[in-house]
């Protein structure tokens, strides 16, 4: 146990010295400051506007688009779900767009998860956690110390999990700080709605849950955390397979983007739902964004990610502990 802590300390030191975490925090800060500023602009403009009319106009526009049949099948689903949610907010007299600090913090895991920002940051942290040792030749020393290889890999995985967790936490804190500069800070207990479901062409409202915003946020963060842990585990395998850091980061990004493209280009090929990338935006699915394929329930996505994570970690350990280390 003590030995494992020493190994984790080593990995932490290396990760920090490589400045990976600094890069991650800088990216988060830059993006969140910009988004926070844009929210401030919306807030400033909203004083002059009637949000109800705005929302009604948007719904009308979206329905028009659907009628013209311009949208692809998966996009149409998204639009229908969105119309349903807007209608729901109209009916309940809630302005969904009104920016404040709690909403900003609440939205972060959804947006950063579904737009692949958080997976990208995990890639930066983890893609070269093993391959860099290989590329820099330090594996020859690391693996000739009196420590079994599985312990070294486990220390790397735990360190990666730790920093992925820290990334999400720092994301929340930075979102809070960035929003606090520009937006009103009250609203943690206002109702927040999630669980919208799309059935056929209409949005089912019977599954919608009403929770105080802070609890709703905790659930969203929890789901996004789970998805990041799974993604970090998958990233470890690529880092083990590839000798060069560029190859492993490249493959990770390609699979993220490729998975997204796949769901948009060929939504009819339903085998795509078994690809881990489609299950990553858990927080979004929790809120009510329809998953790209039928039959992707929350339970399905959580199980799928677990299967991928366990499978890839098992392969990573098998490869890492058995392979010959050549120059």
């Amino acid at each position: 146990m003590l030995a494992m802590l020493a190994l984790i300390q080593n990995e932490t030191l290396k990760l920090l010295r490589r400045r990976r975490f600094v890069i991650v925090i800088s990216i988060l800060t830059a993006i969140l400051l910009i988004v926070s500023y844009s929210q401030y602009r919306i807030l400033r403009d909203s004083a002059k506007r009637n949000w109800r009319a705005d929302l009604q106009e948007r719904i009308a526009r979206a329905e028009n688009m659907l009628r013209r049949g311009r949208a692809s099948a998966s996009w149409a689903r998204s639009i229908r779900a969105e119309i349903g949610r807007w209608q729901f907010y109209l009916d309940h007299d809630i302005d969904p767009q009104k920016p404040n600090v709690p909403r900003f913090v609440r939205t972060f895991p959804n947006v950063a998860g579904s737009l692949l920002l958080l997976p990208l940051l995990v890639s930066i942290l983890g893609s070269d956690i093993v391959s860099a040792e290989n590329a820099e030749g330090t594996d020859k020393l690391l693996l000739t110390r009196p420590v079994r290889r599985w312990k070294i890999l486990l220390a790397k995985l735990i360190t990666l999990w730790m920093f992925a967790t820290l990334t999400l936490l720092c994301g929340a804190i930075i979102a809070f700080l960035a929003a606090s500069v520009a937006l009103p800070s009250h609203g943690w207990t206002e109702p927040s709605f999630s669980g919208f479901q799309l059935a056929n062409a209409t949005v089912r409202l019977d599954a919608v849950r009403e929770l105080p915003l802070w609890r709703d946020a905790l659930i969203a963060y929890g789901l996004e955390w789970y998805s990041m842990m799974a993604f970090a585990s998958i990233a470890l395998l690529l880092s083990v397979i590839f000798k060069s850091s560029a190859a492993s980061i490249g493959t990770m990004l390609a699979s993220l983007i490729g998975g997204t493209i796949l769901t948009h280009i060929s939504p009819d090929w339903t085998a795509g739902k078994y690809f881990f990338v489609t299950a990553l935006p858990l927080a979004d699915y929790y809120t009510g964004e329809p998953p790209p394929y039928d039959g992707m329930s929350m339970m399905f996505c959580i199980t799928l990610l677990a299967v991928w994570a366990i499978g890839t970690v098992a392969i990573a350990f098998a490869l890492f502990t058995r392979r010959d280390v050549f120059g």
């Binding site: 030995a3 020493a6 190994l7 300390q9 080593n10 030191l13 290396k14 010295r17 490589r18 820099e136 030749g137 330090t138 020859k140 020393l141 690391l142 693996l143 000739t144 110390r145 009196p146 420590v147 079994r148 058995r322 010959d324 280390v325 050549f326 120059g327």
Partner: protein, 308 residues
């Protein structure tokens, strides 16, 4: 001073038994066996691609042997990896350390893996004269300094066996001499087993007690440096009339080299030859035992391939 005859009374600390590595249909290392004893410096020589590095990587558990086994201080590297590696410090190929960390952070990193403390870090750093530069990033080090930091790292935890690949690489003559003396010192006074590979034959000759020569994956010869060289002793005669002298000494199979004759004989055979030559009226200017260098022996053994 080291005495080769005392070997039999010592137990070997590093034993390689019938090491074989096959990749695909290529046999890279073929039935290599040797023993390294406490208190000796053991040299490992071979041309490029001879299987030198593969053998070293098998010794330290980086590559799994296809057949054969390795015992370090009595522990099988395959099955008792942790116990075996606790007895070994090594540099494999190049002394690659974490360039983005300081020398001290690097040593601390590897010390933590051994459970060694700060005093051990200070000890190994002073051993290789690196104490003053320990807080600078390794990226700023010269190759010689990195080599020394590599050796310092290998000395952490006071291992009984030191395995060093090309320890003289990148060092200037003074540095090479320093390392040579350090290695001899470690073997002699601390009774460590030092296994070094090198392509600098003269260096091996000066540093090592025993040598193994590997070529195309097979061990050609193993023995003390003295035995390997003296088994090939010859007599060099500088004479006035080389062709006539060669004729007179034809029975001894002389080879002509410039104005000298080389005879595969010991110096005890010299007096009658000199008498025979003077009797025939041939001037003899010089008679000297020709000491074959390790390099000549090596080139002969490997069929003239360059050492690297």
């Amino acid at each position: 001073m080291y005495n080769p005859r005392s070997l039999s009374t010592l137990t070997p600390t590093l034993i390689a038994q019938h090491l074989t590595k096959v990749i695909g249909d290529r046999t890279i290392v073929d039935d290599v066996s040797f023993e390294v004893f406490a208190g000796e410096v053991f040299g490992f020589l071979g041309p490029n691609g001879a299987g030198k590095t593969t053998t070293i990587r098998m010794l330290v558990g980086l590559i799994r042997p296809t057949a054969g086994r390795i015992l370090i201080c009595g522990h099988d590297v395959q099955h008792q990896f942790e116990q075996a590696m606790r007895c070994v410090g090594c540099i494999v190929e190049t002394p690659d350390l974490y360039r983005f960390m300081t020398g001290r952070e690097n040593l601390a990193h590897f010390a933590r893996m051994l459970g060694a403390g700060d005093d051990d870090i200070a000890r190994v750093a002073s051993l290789v004269n690196l104490s003053g530069r320990l807080d600078q990033r390794v990226g700023t080090y010269s190759l010689g300094m990195r080599q020394r930091l590599g050796i310092a790292q290998a000395m952490l935890g006071e291992p009984r066996v030191l395995i060093l690949d090309e320890p003289a690489n990148g060092l200037d003559p003074a540095g090479i001499r320093e390392i040579r003396e350090l290695l001899r010192e470690l073997a002699r006074t601390r009774g460590m087993s030092v296994f070094v590979s090198s392509h600098l034959l003269a260096e091996i000759e000066l540093t090592c007690d025993r040598v193994a020569i590997i070529h195309r994956g097979r061990l050609l010869r193993t023995g003390t440096v003295r035995d390997l060289i003296s088994s090939r002793r010859s007599l060099e005669l500088r004479v006035g009339d080389v062709p006539r002298a060669a004729g007179i000494l034809a029975d001894h199979q002389p080879t002509i080299e410039g104005d000298c004759l080389l005879l595969p004989l010991d110096e005890s055979a010299a007096p009658p030859l000199i008498a025979a030559l003077t009797e025939a009226g041939i001037d003899v200017y010089r008679v000297a035992p020709h000491r074959q260098t390790l390099e000549e022996m090596f080139i002969e053994a490997t069929g003239g391939e360059t050492v690297d």
